[in-house]
């Protein structure tokens, strides 16, 4: 009885996709100001997200670097005999919370210092002629926060005069990172929700303007997916548009930070995340968050209108 042939295909037809894209751009244009406001909100949020993540990623890396470096160094007097050293090593292993004890000769100490100096090592090259570093035992504790207690215990051992450790800089850094992270996360969640809300509102305008159209579509048997697609695209486009400026900004700011501050920091043995790794990952992340915000906003609006 139905003369019109109907192929059942799961993949969307090209002309259907073209129609959905057309429809969504039409209403993006029609609601120009709301679109602009939504895209701006996403932009502002993502700029802050981008800068925040840029700092947080680096702080985390630095903290991680330092954390793996948290150790107690026991410098040995030049005059100690091998027997005294062996006895000390046994004693150190007995100290509570000590995970490992490693002997570092003066030569190894110098090599690792040179290594960490990177490009600046030329200016210290005369150290090689006469190595001023003593032999040392390097202790790792079970946990970073046990460093201080272990250092104190070690200091009370016989034959030990010079003990060095991170002196709480790590703890301070971790505490700072935690606070910064919490404040940042609250701020950013607030901003992201605002963006979602604005996009949801823009899409709602579109839908209200087309209520009649949707009603007729449903009347003649259009599927929910078909009705939903243009709004999905509309939200996605707004979100992704909103991520363009943040991505560019992140690239510019990080270029400046990496190539200008990076050198100074390196003299303090701090290394930033390499430029390309940082910008590639952060850009993808920002575009992804933008798209997600857009789609989430639009789909939350559409849901209410699609009840059969």
């Amino acid at each position: 009885m139905c003369a019109i042939s109907r192929k059942v295909t799961t993949a969307m037809k090209i002309r259907t996709l073209r129609r959905h894209v057309n429809e969504s751009f039409k209403s993006l244009g029609r609601n120009g100001w709301m679109t602009f406001a939504s895209v701006s909100a996403v932009t502002v949020s993502l700029v802050l997200v981008g800068l925040f993540l840029m700092v947080m990623f680096n702080l985390n890396k630095i903290a991680g670097d330092i954390e793996s470096d948290v150790e107690v160094r026991v410098y040995l007097d030049q005059s100690m005999t091998q027997a005294q050293q062996d006895a000390l090593q046994r004693d150190l292993k007995e100290v509570k919370n000590v995970q490992s004890v490693r002997f570092q000769s003066k030569k190894e100490g110098l090599d690792s210092l040179m290594e960490s100096l990177g490009n600046d090592r030329q200016s210290f090259s005369d150290l090689k002629k006469e190595n001023p570093l003593p032999n040392a035992f390097i202790l790792k504790t079970n946990k970073p926060e046990q460093t201080i207690a272990v250092a104190k215990a070690v200091k009370s051992l016989p034959d030990v005069t010079d003990v060095r450790y991170g002196k709480g800089t790590v703890e301070k850094l971790f505490r700072f990172i935690n606070i910064a992270r919490n404040v940042g996360i609250i701020l950013i969640i607030g901003l992201l929700f605002t963006s979602v809300f604005l996009i949801a509102n823009t899409i709602k305008l579109t839908i209200v303007a087309r209520r009649r159209e949707i009603e007729i579509m449903k009347l003649v048997g259009a599927t929910n997916a078909f009705v939903r697609w243009p709004y999905f695209i509309e939200g996605l486009v707004m979100g992704v548009l909103g991520s363009i400026i943040p991505v560019v900004l992140v690239m510019v700011v990080y270029r400046f930070a990496y190539y200008n501050l990076g050198g100074n920091l390196q003299q303090m043995f701090i290394r930033l995340i390499p430029y390309h790794i940082m910008t590639t990952n952060l850009s993808l992340l920002l575009v992804g968050i933008g798209g997600l915000i857009g789609v989430w906003g639009s789909m939350s609006s559409v849901r209410k209108f699609l009840k059969i």
Binding site: L219, G221, A222
Partner: protein, 231 residues
């Protein structure tokens, strides 16, 4: 079973507690023309809405083409609706689309092939006598012409069943006769037509089966029936 529509003990309660249909039993055969009459609030619109699954029955079974639509899944509803044409009192056309586009829209959104769409739209516009107005917009048409466009749209997917809720309710008598002529042509092509109406003259003049609803119940089911009310 060659019933196009079969209702078995259908009840409908609205969420606010109003009982709009109270145990409807009914069978409509392929190609029949049925008037639904009855006073305001009798349940005519509710009855119509049940047939194209705008509403689910609270209780009972509704078979359309031998398929019980009472337990149809939500995602199957669109495909079911493609087999039912619906016409309303208020036409429901899109004002920014031309006559041609309004009809084509119904086929586009179910992803019909463009070449088929063009052919079919011209066919149905010819059937309702509006081929010469295909570039007009709804507000350039009379009420009767707008209703013909909406009828063209409702049948463009060749549904076996056409339902209409007071299709002549907004039209003057003369125009109403033209609309009935369109329905006659569609019915003659084998389409089953179910039409809720208040139009006494039409029911009495163009005799078809009459179902009278009162208080959500069928109080009369009469072949070649008359309108039977004095409003």
């Amino acid at each position: 079973m060659d019933d196009v529509i079969l209702m078995q003990n259908v009840w409908k309660a609205y969420p606010n507690g109003v009982m709009a249909l109270n145990g409807i039993d009914l069978s409509v055969k392929q190609g029949e023309f049925v008037y639904i009459v009855g006073p305001s609030g009798a349940g005519k619109s509710t009855f119509i809405k049940m047939i194209f699954r705008e509403l689910k029955p609270t209780r009972g079974k509704i078979f359309i083409n031998n398929k019980n639509i009472a337990n149809l899944r939500d995602r199957q509803v669109p495909y079911f609706r493609r087999k039912i044409g619906v016409v309303f009192q208020d036409f429901r056309l899109l004002p920014k689309l031309t006559v041609y586009e309004n009809v084509a829209f119904a086929l586009e959104v179910i992803e019909e092939h463009p070449r088929q769409i063009k052919r079919r739209v011209m066919e149905v516009l010819d059937l309702v006598g509006l081929k010469h107005k295909l570039r007009s917009f709804p507000d350039q048409l009379s009420g009767g012409e707008q209703q013909r466009v909406s009828i063209a749209r409702s049948i463009c997917n060749r549904p076996p069943v056409l339902i209409a809720d007071e299709p002549t309710g907004n039209l003057d008598p003369e125009t109403s006769w033209q609309i009935m002529d369109v329905f006659r042509r569609i019915n003659e092509q084998g389409t089953t037509v179910v039409m809720a109406t208040h139009n006494r003259d039409i029911v009495n003049k163009i005799r078809h089966r009459v179902l009278a609803l009162e208080g959500g119940m069928i109080v009369r089911d009469q072949q070649e029936g008359d309108y039977g009310y004095e409003d």
